[in-house]
Structure formats: structure tokens, C-alpha cells
């Protein structure tokens, strides 16, 4: 569960990216974060995976106050969260398999469990047959699927995605969405910031709209609501 109480994010340059956010996202939900450019969506996302600390207010991840948590414990908070980005953030010198395995090695998973688990998630994202390909040999959609495989390999309770389809053509975008939907059906909470009107209006889910750092709309099965 993610909770925010009167959360403000003011960057050092004085920009007030978030101004008094109150929100609660329960386990198993699928949430779109929408809003115009510069509204504060990425800032909202960053607070959730503790990339940024709130300037004011409280952010609770599974009941843990991320502002109070000691630095050395942050990694343990992050293990509960899988993050997916618009630009995939894959390591170019590693194969698809190695990129996913890297996430397990980094949390010191037992070696014997790595191979079966990596193959399991690569199978889930439909890339087991391309496991030895390097990112440069994969299409954008395939790269994003590898990055999703990496995000879920350590069994997080949340998947947080910042415009995961931002760099993809419609067909690949849909593949990614079906994948995220599938992951959500298995019990993982999914929160994604997006500009994709078609997706939001077709695959109806909870929609949280942010404008100028404030939540202006929050509805289940809502519409995208902007023209772009």
C-alpha cells in the first residue's frame, strides 16, 4: 500500500512540483497518473521509489515512512518496488538474460535460484528465445519487455512505471500494456504515468490527474481527459 499525506515537493531551485498531495493506493490496484507536461507526474513517481524525499508531508510505502527510514534500509524498501522507465535503462554490454539476472545478483539472491527465475520471467514477457540477444539487437518493445522482466524478477509488490510506452509505436505499446495488465492480475500493484490517451481510454482503470502539482481528479475507470 502507498499512502501520501499532504505531500509537497519543492526542488532546490524553488519549483513547487507537488503541492499538497493526498492519496492512497491499495494492494492490487492499477493506476494511471495523467496530466499535462510539467504537472508533477514524474515527481510523484520518484517519491514512490524514494528517488526523491518529500519536502513536506508523509509518504508511506507498506507502512514505512520513506523520509524517516535510515539510508542503509532504503535498499530493502526498494526491493518491494520494481521500476520501469521510458528509456528502459538496460545495460548495453549485457544480454537480455544477463540484464535480468543482474537484478537478482545485486540483491544477493542464491545462485541456484537465479537461472530458473530469470527464465521464468523471460518466458512471461515472451522473450525466452531471445535471451542471448543484446539490447542493441532488440526492438524498443522487446527492450521494454526485458526491463519489465527485470523489474518483476525479485517479486516486488509494486510496479511503478514512468511513461513505459513513451518511446513505442502503438502495437508495441499494446504489448507492454497487456503485459502490465497480466502482472497486475497476478496481484502486483501497478502505477504508471502516461500521456497515452488511447490506452487510458481503452484499458479502463483508476485515473489520477495531476495539474500544477495538485490532484484535480481521481476516478475509477476514468478517462484520459486531455487532448494530446
Amino acid at each position: 500500500m502507498i499512502e501520501m499525506h499532504d505531500v509537497w515537493k519543492v526542488y532546490p531551485n524553488g519549483v513547487e512540483a507537488l503541492r499538497g498531495i493526498d492519496v492512497r493506493i491499495d494492494q492490487g490496484e492499477f493506476v494511471y497518473i495523467v496530466g499535462p507536461s510539467g504537472a508533477g507526474k514524474s515527481s510523484f513517481i520518484k517519491l514512490m521509489y524514494r528517488e526523491e524525499k518529500p519536502t513536506h508531508g508523509v509518504v508511506l510505502i507498506n507502512g514505512v515512512n520513506v523520509k524517516r527510514v535510515r539510508d542503509w534500509k532504503i535498499p530493502h524498501v526498494r526491493r518491494k518496488i520494481g521500476v520501469v522507465f521510458q528509456d528502459y535503462k538496460l545495460l548495453p554490454k549485457m544480454t537480455a538474460y544477463e540484464n535480468v539476472a543482474f537484478a537478482m545478483e545485486a540483491v544477493e539472491a542464491p545462485k541456484r535460484r537465479i537461472k530458473p527465475r530469470v527464465e521464468e520471467v523471460l518466458e512471461l514477457v515472451g522473450l525466452l528465445d531471445r535471451k542471448n540477444a543484446y539490447p542493441s539487437q532488440l526492438s524498443g518493445g522487446e527492450q521494454q519487455r526485458v526491463s519489465i522482466a527485470r523489474a518483476i524478477v525479485n517479486n516486488p509488490t509494486f510496479i511503478i512505471a514512468d511513461e513505459p510506452t513513451g518511446n513505442l509505436d502503438p502495437e508495441n505499446s499494446w504489448d507492454i500494456m497487456y503485459l502490465l495488465e497480466e502482472i497486475n492480475k497476478r496481484g502486483t500493484t501497478v502505477v504508471m504515468a502516461t500521456h497515452n490517451k488511447e490506452i487510458v481510454n481503452t484499458l479502463r482503470q483508476r485515473v489520477i490527474a495531476i495539474e500544477q502539482g495538485v490532484i484535480v481528479r481521481d476516478e475509477l475507470g476514468g478517462e484520459y481527459g486531455y487532448e494530446d
Binding site: 521509489y49 539510508d71 542503509w72 535498499p75 530493502h76 524498501v77 526498494r78 526491493r79 518491494k80 518496488i81 520494481g82 521500476v83 535503462k89 545495460l91 543482474f102 537484478a103 545478483e105 545485486a106 540483491v107 544477493e108 545462485k111 527485470r150 525479485n154
Partner: protein, 300 residues
């Protein structure tokens, strides 16, 4: 904190990969460490030998009190007892002139000079009492005391030589320390620059590790190993060079005329000291370099 062998091996591999990736910089910092440690090694040899020699000298420090001719056996015994009762002395013995001559022959060999001394069977040496002080610092006071005793003709001791040598070696030690410190700091900064490059090269990997929840230490360890690795590799050549040079110096000095007191420290004990301290310093410099760059450039 317990580290799995698996993880340890991974960190060492990563460290090695870091060095491989920027060979030129790594080579530069290994060289800087090598130069530092070479200078350090030489100073170390000098300092260790200073200490060794002054210790040897200290052991030999003794007062030789000559007894007036014609002193009776009973008076000599009385004198010896007087001296032995002094709390400053550690050991005192009576050395009659025959014994003195014998010892001299043993120490100097049966040279012409000694031959001449006793050519006609006579012995020009006085009977003496040899006294060792408990503390070498007390030698002067003890000598003055003994000089005042009856039937003592004169006292003799290595006035000031040991003190000066001890002072000098203390001074050299401080200088070594200061010099070593400066060089070590310079080398550490070079290493920190090398590791900064590695951190820079790995920015993306580090970011991914953070995102998936790698522990801070898991991210940091490879950089410490890299620094230590540079330190270790950088210490190999200076250790070899220093010890080879010392071996050469030893064979030149000890094969030539032997000046009893100026025997250098034997190879084995010195090489252990020098190799050990040089390696340790290398590792310290390396890890210090890692700490500097991890603190400054690794944002976790």
C-alpha cells in the same frame, strides 16, 4: 557483516574489470603507488637499520673502570662489591689484565698490533672492572660515581655516541613518517581519480543496482577492492627492488672490513618487516583512495 564467498568473488571480479577498463589510468596510479612505496621502502630500511645498530650499541654500552696498579686482591673484591651494590648497575665483573688481553685478541684477531703489545710477555693493559648500567641513560651518572671510588684510576665509556645515534634515528623516523605521509596522500588522490573514472563508467550499472535495491555496501565493495588491488600491485615492484638493493648492500658491506658495531640488520628479519609494512601501506593508500572517491562521487 558476513559476505558470501559468491559475493566476494563477484566483487573481486568487478574490481578487476574496473582496472581492465581503464588500463592507462590504473597503470598511472599503480606507478604512483610504486614510486611512493619505493621511497618509503628505502627510508624504512634506513630507519630499521638505525634502530638495529643503536640497539646493538646499547647492548654493548659499558663502563670500563681501570684499577690503580698495586691494588690488593681484597681491595679489588671490596670495590667490586661496592659497585654491585649500586642500584643503577645491571652487571659488573672483574676483568684481570690477562683476561683483557685474551678478549682483545678474540675481538681483533691475532694482528701484528696485538702481537707487538705483548711481544716480550709483558701486558700493558690495566686490571679493570666492567660495569653495565640498567638503563643506558644512566651511564654518565654511574661512571661519575664509580670514578670517585677509591683505587679507581680512570673510567671510560662511549661518551655521547649512543645518545647521538639514538637522537638521530628518532629524527630520521619522524622525517620518514612525514615524507611517507605526503607521498601517500598524493598517491591516494591519484587512486581516487582512477576510481572516479570507474564510478563514472559504471554510472548506469550503479543506477540499476540502486533501483533494484542492492545494498549500499554491495555497490561500494568493488571500488574498495579496486583500490586495494592497485595498492597491492603497486607494492610488488618496490618490495622486490628494495630487498634486492639491500641484499647487494649487505654483500658489499659485510664482505668488506667488518667494523664490529656497524653490522647491518640481517636479510630475513628486515625483508619481513619491509615487505610487510610496504604491502600494508600500499593497501592503506589504495583503500584510502577508494574511500575518497566513493564518498565524493558515489551517490547512493
Amino acid at each position: 557483516m558476513v559476505m558470501k564467498i559468491e559475493t566476494l568473488i563477484r566483487h573481486i571480479k568487478e574490481a578487476y574489470r574496473g582496472i581492465q577498463r581503464n588500463v592507462a589510468m590504473s597503470f598511472a596510479s599503480i606507478s604512483a603507488v610504486a614510486v611512493t612505496l619505493f621511497v618509503f621502502g628505502i627510508f624504512l630500511i634506513v630507519a630499521f637499520n638505525m634502530r638495529f645498530i643503536s640497539n646493538e650499541l646499547e647492548k654493548q654500552v659499558a663502563i670500563t673502570a681501570s684499577i690503580e696498579e698495586g691494588t690488593s686482591e681484597a681491595q679489588v673484591q671490596q670495590l667490586l662489591q661496592n659497585i654491585q651494590a649500586d642500584p643503577m648497575q645491571k652487571f659488573a665483573e672483574y676483568v684481570p689484565k690477562e683476561e683483557g688481553l685474551k678478549q682483545m685478541k678474540e675481538q681483533w684477531g691475532d694482528t701484528d698490533f696485538i702481537q707487538d703489545l705483548s711481544e716480550d710477555g709483558s701486558n700493558p693493559l690495566p686490571d679493570v672492572i666492567r660495569v653495565q648500567p640498567k638503563k643506558s641513560d644512566d651511564i654518565e651518572k654511574l661512571a661519575q660515581k664509580i670514578e670517585k671510588l677509591p683505587n679507581i684510576e680512570s673510567v671510560d665509556y662511549g661518551e655521547g655516541v649512543t645518545e647521538r645515534l639514538l637522537n638521530f634515528s628518532g629524527w630520521v623516523r619522524n622525517l620518514v613518517f612525514l615524507f611517507g605521509l605526503i607521498l601517500a596522500v598524493v598517491a591516494s588522490f591519484l587512486i581516487s581519480n582512477t576510481i572516479k573514472l570507474t564510478i563514472h563508467n559504471r554510472q548506469r550499472e550503479i543506477e540499476v543496482m540502486r533501483l533494484v535495491g542492492a545494498s549500499n555496501w554491495f555497490i561500494r565493495w568493488p571500488f574498495f577492492f579496486e583500490g586495494a588491488f592497485i595498492g597491492i600491485v603497486g607494492s610488488i615492484f618496490p618490495i622486490l627492488f628494495c630487498l634486492l638493493m639491500y641484499q647487494a648492500a649487505l654483500s658489499v658491506l659485510n664482505d668488506g672490513a667488518t667494523f664490529g658495531v656497524f653490522k647491518l640488520m640481517p636479510m630475513l628479519s628486515l625483508s619481513l618487516y619491509v615487505a610487510g609494512s610496504t604491502l600494508l601501506l600500499g593497501i592503506i593508500i589504495g583503500v584510502l583512495g577508494s574511500i575518497i572517491s566513493v564518498r565524493r562521487f558515489l551517490k547512493i
